[in-house]
């Protein structure tokens, strides 16, 4: 029996296929709940979860909070502005304080890469990484895998192209690990300044020509371009970025007819993705958000309660 009870989700690096499949399987059931009239399950009644977000986030934090509430956990949000972090308390001491309140899981987003791993060594509650700097964002990748599997029926053998700022992209790294584990053929494409060739060592194909990368693609995952990168040597500006790396209908002619378009949001429409493509019938961008809640319900339930399935009958 596969179980991830008590296991922190720090990233998808090294997470075995059976564990990913378990999350996806349970997430499918959670989605039935999310799609139903009464979204409340009592599976995490009496459990408490703290969202510690050292970096601003609306979607991920909201998605985790919603997931926890649908499962009837008590959840509090802990942000630097409303806490003792600003009084100079160390990261370790903050974690110890929160743990002393008796929490079962800590969902954290932190600017510093590797900080969830550090947290998992400091304290005993399950640590769920909600994004650490430019390293990993495992629940985003799990929801991307869930979406691909839902639409395509499988993941193995698919050509998945990730477009954009890969170097600074935590979504990209987690996706690479998850997709590779599930047997996909992963391709990366972006400007040379935002995509280092060293990433090929992760077992992926690196491209600097979007048309070449999109050839026969089954899935195209478009990443957000961060505006603070422009004009400081990474790329000249949004116009030129769109010309060379913007995903649009014309470019997608190279891809497979049933290509699936994804974007983790928030989008810069007209820069990394054109309006004709993000609202296209083959785009799953809104569905990804819904799937995010289902997947996070699965992750919270499985890491806190364990088991290799879930009973959603009420």
């Amino acid at each position: 029996m596969v179980s991830i009870q008590g296991k922190s989700l720090l990233g998808l690096q090294g997470v075995p296929k059976e564990e990913i499949e378990l999350v996806l399987r349970v997430a499918r059931k959670m989605k039935e709940v999310v799609n139903s009239d009464n979204k409340k399950l009592h599976l995490l009644q009496g459990k408490s979860i703290v969202n510690m977000f050292w970096e601003p986030s609306t979607r991920t934090r909201g998605s985790f909070e919603m997931a926890a509430k649908y499962l009837d956990a008590d959840v509090i949000n802990f942000t630097p502005s409303g806490s003792s972090i600003q009084k100079g308390e160390s990261f370790r001491d903050t974690l110890l304080t929160v743990t002393a309140m008796g929490v079962d899981a800590i969902v954290m987003r932190h600017k510093q890469e590797g900080s969830p791993l550090y947290a998992s060594k400091c304290v005993s509650p399950v640590i769920i990484n909600g994004g650490d700097g430019t390293h990993e964002h495992p629940t985003q990748a799990l929801l991307d895998l869930f979406t691909i599997q839902e639409v395509k029926g499988h993941i193995d053998g698919l050509k998945v192209v990730i477009v954009g700022d890969i170097d600074h992209g935590r979504v990209a790294r987690s996706n690479i690990y998850g997709l590779k584990t599930m047997g996909a053929d992963v391709h990366l494409v972006g400007p040379r300044t935002l995509l280092q060739p060293e990433l090929a060592a992760m077992g992926v194909t690196v491209h600097y020509d979007l048309d070449e990368a999109l050839k026969d693609a089954d899935v195209v995952n478009v990443l957000r371009i961060q505006r603070e990168r422009q004009g400081v040597g990474f790329f000249p500006g949004p116009g030129e970025y769109n010309t060379f790396f913007g995903v649009n209908q014309k470019r997608l002619k190279n891809a497979k007819k049933d290509v699936l378009i994804m974007h983790p949001g928030p989008m810069n429409r007209g820069i990394e993705i054109d309006t004709d493509t993000c609202y296209w019938t083959q785009s799953s961008i809104q569905e990804q958000v819904k799937n995010g809640v289902s997947v996070r319900m699965a992750v919270l339930y499985l890491t806190i309660m364990g088991g290799d399935d879930v009973d959603i009958t009420r």
């Binding site: 160390s90 990261f91 600017k111 510093q112 900080s115 650490d132 990993e136 060293e198 060592a201």
Partner: protein, 429 residues
């Protein structure tokens, strides 16, 4: 008082000596070296089965005084040196205040004289406040007895300023030691740039930053005819450039640390700040090139870059933790285990790089076992197995990349001016 170090294997690179003999010490000086010397009432130390070397000198150490005594002090730093078999250290000026004028050098020398367990040399700053803009009072500091000039921790960015600093320093016959990492290329960098940094999502400090800095310094050394010493060299191109500069007869020398010759960036995979250092631990091709450089004489000295920080400073998220870690208590064990016992580098070369060569570079009368010289000795058991326990270090810094490693080879006694300052790992002062 007299001491007879009896029956040890004397390895004395300055005269290419490697033989079993006795050393007689009187009043802090070496009185005689020879076979079967009579004790004549002297305290006898049985060194049979042990190596007796000229006192080791670590020319790149941060004692952190003045101003940073939470990290280290002259007392704890020199105790750590004694524990590690080091008889003399040269301390870097990136303190608070920066050691950039004579009075501060005099203060440090006074403190070292009264509190130091081993000998302490002082390195003066190249620029006032390490700001890389105005020359420090080099002449005054030279008169006060500094052994070198360095803005260590920072690269001297402005090439015109560095040229003038070299020209000015050359009048006082002191070497310039530069921390070679071109500033713009390493801004925000957390570790060596390569496959590992790409996977970890950490901004890299490319080898190219060191290569560019070393190339510039070699060129400036040539046009100013000033001796320049490359601190903690860590890249294959830098080693090769130094090799070629030496072949051309330029006044370029270099040092390397145990960490850069033993560890690689693979160690960073757990985001553990105890492996965080500048220049960063690099990939295997660089590591092995540095060892080659030591072997063929391109690299003159082995140094630790002993850089203690408090536990709280190192116990942070990786990117927020400061760079640097301690090394005085592990250098001999690390080097013997990973360079000598592996057959990579011979004992004479290692001992030369830890005694004779740094003495020559700093211009101090040491690094040789000879009649009339100060009786500074490092006594080593090549085969002693021991486990590194950073929590038991004499240094205030408890962060070591070698923590919990098993080493073969250890300094078992440290003699300074004819007196034992360490025996069997216990510091006696």
């Amino acid at each position: 008082m007299t001491l007879l170090v009896k029956g040890g294997r004397v390895v004395n690179p300055a005269v290419n000596q490697d033989e079993i003999c006795d050393i007689l010490v009187e009043n802090g000086k070496i009185k005689a070296i020879g076979k079967n010397l009579p004790a004549d009432g002297a305290e006898v130390y049985d060194a049979s089965g042990l190596v007796v070397a000229p006192g080791f000198i670590d020319m790149h150490v941060h004692l952190r005084q003045p101003g940073q005594s939470a990290k280290e002090t002259v007392i704890t730093g020199t105790q750590a040196a004694a524990a590690g078999g080091i008889t003399r250290v040269a301390t870097m000026p990136n303190t608070n205040p920066v050691i950039d004028k004579a009075i501060l050098v005099e203060g440090m020398k006074y403190k070292a004289e009264h509190e130091g367990v081993v000998k302490v040399e002082v390195i003066g700053a190249i620029s006032k406040g390490l700001e890389g803009k105005e020359l420090s009072a080099m002449g005054g500091m030279a008169k006060a007895g500094v052994v070198a000039f360095s803005d260590d921790g920072r690269f001297v960015e402005d090439s015109d300023f560095m040229r003038k600093a070299m020209e000015y320093a050359s009048m006082f016959h002191k070497i310039i030691i530069d921390h070679c990492e071109e500033t713009s290329l390493v801004a925000g960098g957390q570790m060596h740039e390569g496959v590992v940094s790409a996977e970890l999502g950490l901004k890299g400090r490319p080898a190219a930053a060191e290569d560019i800095a070393v190339a510039r310094d070699i060129i400036l050394s040539e046009i100013t005819d000033t001796p320049v010493h490359i601190a903690h060299i860590s890249t294959k191109h830098a080693v090769d450039m130094v090799r070629r500069a030496k072949a051309r007869g330029l006044k370029i020398t270099a040092e390397a640390t145990p960490q850069h010759m033993i560890l690689t960036d693979e160690a960073l995979r757990t985001y553990d700040p105890r492996f965080k250092v500048n220049p960063p631990l690099r990939s295997e091709e660089h590591r092995s090139a540095v060892v080659e450089g030591l072997k063929d004489g391109t690299i003159d000295a082995i140094v630790t870059d002993h850089a203690p920080h408090t536990w709280d400073e190192k116990d942070q998220e990786f990117s927020l933790a400061p760079s640097g870690f301690v090394g005085l208590e592990t250098s001999v064990g690390a080097v013997l285990t990973h360079l000598y016992h592996t057959g990579a580098v011979d004992l004479m070369t290692i001992i030369r790089a830890m005694s004779t060569a740094p003495a020559r570079l700093l211009g101090v009368d040491a690094g040789v076992i000879a009649e009339g010289k100060d009786a500074d000795l490092t006594i080593i058991d090549l085969d002693k197995e021991w486990t590194v326990d950073a929590s038991s270090f004499y240094s205030k810094g408890k962060s070591s990349p070698f923590d919990e490693m098993i080493f073969t080879g250890k300094a078992v006694a440290t003699v300074v001016d004819g007196e034992f300052v360490m025996k069997d790992g216990v510091v006696l002062k």
